[in-house]
């Protein structure tokens, strides 16, 4: 997957990649005039190929959440086209199919829980599809296992930690067997332990072949991404591999982003002439770079 493939992913050129992906093609979107606080999107083009982990980074209010709501047709573009595996989000006849293909997990775990037990919550989506009981049971078991919550079936969701609630929300999305998981700041309300739990699940799902569109302001949460976009005031300000974004760290501040703490330490060490090679972003690799 060299530069060529990345270019293809963004422009969607070539018939093979055109159909099987989440594709934003020159999207513009604006809220009504009285929604002045929310920014429009301007000429946003990006793609998530099956199995890829794509990060969209940006400050609060850059348009990230708007982008998430455009993926499954909750919002429709003013111009341009959003397609998921070839389904146009404006095609109302296929909206159910669209929503099955794309699972969305939002920032606030409490807003996404609909039932009074963990298993009922996960079963909610499959039940609405009218699936047979055994099929629902199988999907619930599979989804809870995938997020490491087998054994939590009877728990009341309000007794779960924040990290567990977010894992439950992910299980609810997985029970629909989506091709893509769209994550909207899934860790920003969690404590460090909960954040690690959720990021571990995301890594595992990515390794298992689920395409992931991860929208966040937290660079440290997407260190495993294959590709990153920066959204600044509704426009794509950067696209490329994460390593290139980290090299462009002097631009991060202008976009309202910052390096994780260990990345800032790496810069401070470099300024003192302590060489550490490529930018290290987590404590363990920093220690290895420093002390072997």
């Amino acid at each position: 997957m060299g530069a060529q493939r990345q270019r293809d992913a963004r422009t969607g050129s070539g018939p093979a990649v055109r159909s099987a992906l989440i594709r934003f093609d020159h999207i513009t979107f604006a809220y009504r005039a009285d929604d002045a606080g929310r920014p429009p999107l301007r000429d946003v083009t990006l793609a998530v190929e099956p199995g890829r982990h794509v990060a969209v980074l940006g400050a609060n209010g850059c348009g990230k959440s708007t982008l998430v709501r455009l993926v499954n047709g909750m919002l429709l573009p003013r111009s341009g086209e959003v397609t998921v595996d070839g389904i146009d989000t404006r095609d109302e006849t296929r909206s159910l199919e669209l929503r099955q293909r794309v699972g969305i997990v939002f920032q606030r775990p409490d807003d996404q829980i609909v039932a009074t037990s963990v298993e009922d919550d996960v079963a909610f989506g499959p039940e609405n599809l009218g699936l047979p009981r055994e099929e629902i049971r199988a999907r619930v078991d599979e989804a809870l296992a995938a997020v490491g919550m087998a054994g939590f079936e009877q728990r009341e969701p309000h007794t779960l930690s924040g990290g567990q609630k977010q894992r439950l929300a992910i299980a609810g999305a997985l029970a629909m067997r989506p091709a893509y998981l769209v994550l909207d700041e899934p860790t920003s309300m969690l404590d460090p332990a909960g954040r690690q739990e959720v990021l571990g699940i995301v890594r595992r799902l990515h390794a298992g072949g689920t395409g992931i569109l991860h929208v966040t302001h937290d660079l440290g949460a997407v260190l495993g991404a294959d590709e990153a976009f920066v959204l600044d005031a509704g426009e794509i300000a950067f696209s490329g591999v994460l390593a290139h974004l980290l090299e462009a760290h002097e631009r991060l501040d202008g976009w309202g982003l910052e390096l994780p703490p260990v990345g800032r330490l790496a810069l401070a060490l470099a300024a003192l002439g302590v060489p550490i090679g490529s930018p290290q972003l987590d404590p363990e690799s920093m220690a290895v770079a420093l002390w072997g």
Binding site: D34, D35, A36, G37, R38, A59, N60, G61, Q107, R108, H158, T159, S161, G162, G163, E185, S188, M189, D191, P192, A193, G194, Q196, H217, D253, G256, L257, E258, P260, P261, V262, R264, L265, L267, A268, L269, A271, L272, V274, P275, I276, D282, P283, E284, M286, A287, L290, W291, G292
Partner: protein, 277 residues
């Protein structure tokens, strides 16, 4: 003087979705001008402690006083202000100014005085009352909405301010703005900040109170924690990432003693300890 929680205990409330964690004989002492950082993982009792300190929860045993007056009594009325986690979700009025003026009006001040205090509170959180006062609180960015919610508490002019996870969910700019507000407010009174990401307020704090399972497991100056970073793990907490680098350095036999948790200070300490091995 000061806000004092003395040996407060609170039993776990198992019923309902607002279940709070237990506290066991936890004390907190806040003098004017000081910043106390309370850290602990989810369920450690941090939020319970804040509610007790704000007088919203009556402890099963122990006492809470503000400047010597028991909370709940007439003398301590309005002494303590609590900014809840996710405070912006409680914004409700038609305009920003009305929302911020609600608190002081509710304390019995005249509408004019309440509006005046609301305008001054907006200035204190860095929002121009003329530009923002007439706007809907529902069409603000996340950072702006959080600041409006903080202004709503400031407008009641409490002597002691308590913040529950004030930077959660905010981006780099938003967090910086909140840190600046907290730093400015601690000059006016005393401030307690509860946070699960310790690094955010670590260098500003005069004192760090670490809770685990409702008990105090560390209470002291931040620099003591810089010298003993394993205290975090001992309390079942993930240490700030930069502290974990220092700890790993120790395992290589290096003595790294930063003056603060700031990147420059830690980099200097690593260099002084011998840099790369």
């Amino acid at each position: 003087m000061g806000l004092r929680v003395d040996a407060a205990s609170f039993a776990f409330d198992t019923g309902g979705p607002t279940a709070l964690s237990a506290l066991e004989a936890v004390s907190l002492s806040l003098e004017p001008g000081r910043l106390v950082l309370v850290v602990g993982e989810t369920g450690s009792g941090k939020s319970t402690l804040l509610r007790v300190a704000a007088g919203l929860l009556k402890p099963a045993s122990g006492t809470v006083t503000a400047d010597g007056e028991p909370l709940g009594g007439r003398g301590a009325r309005g002494a303590v202000g609590l900014v809840f986690q996710d405070a912006e979700s409680q914004l409700f009025a038609e305009t920003v100014l009305q929302d911020v003026a609600f608190g002081p009006a509710n304390l019995g001040l005249s509408a004019d005085t309440a509006r005046e205090q609301a305008g001054l509170a907006l200035e204190r959180v860095g929002l121009d009352p003329v530009a923002y006062g007439g706007r809907s609180p529902f069409h603000l960015s996340g950072g702006e909405a959080r600041r409006v919610a903080i202004a709503g508490v400031l407008a009641m002019r409490p002597r002691y301010l308590l913040f529950d996870e004030p930077t959660a969910g905010l981006d780099a700019r938003g967090r910086r703005a909140v840190r600046e507000i907290v730093a400015a407010e601690r000059q006016r009174g005393g401030v307690v900040v509860v946070s699960h990401s310790a690094e955010e307020f670590f260098d500003d704090a005069d004192e760090v109170l670490m809770l685990s399972d409702g008990r105090t497991v560390f209470d002291g100056a931040p620099r003591e924690l810089l010298a003993a970073p394993d205290a975090f793990e001992a309390a079942g907490l993930r240490a700030p990432e930069v502290l974990r680098v220092i700890e790993l350095g120790r395992k290589h036999g290096l003595v790294i003693r930063p003056a603060s948790l700031g990147s420059e200070a830690v980099a200097e300490a690593i260099e002084a300890a011998g840099g790369r091995s």
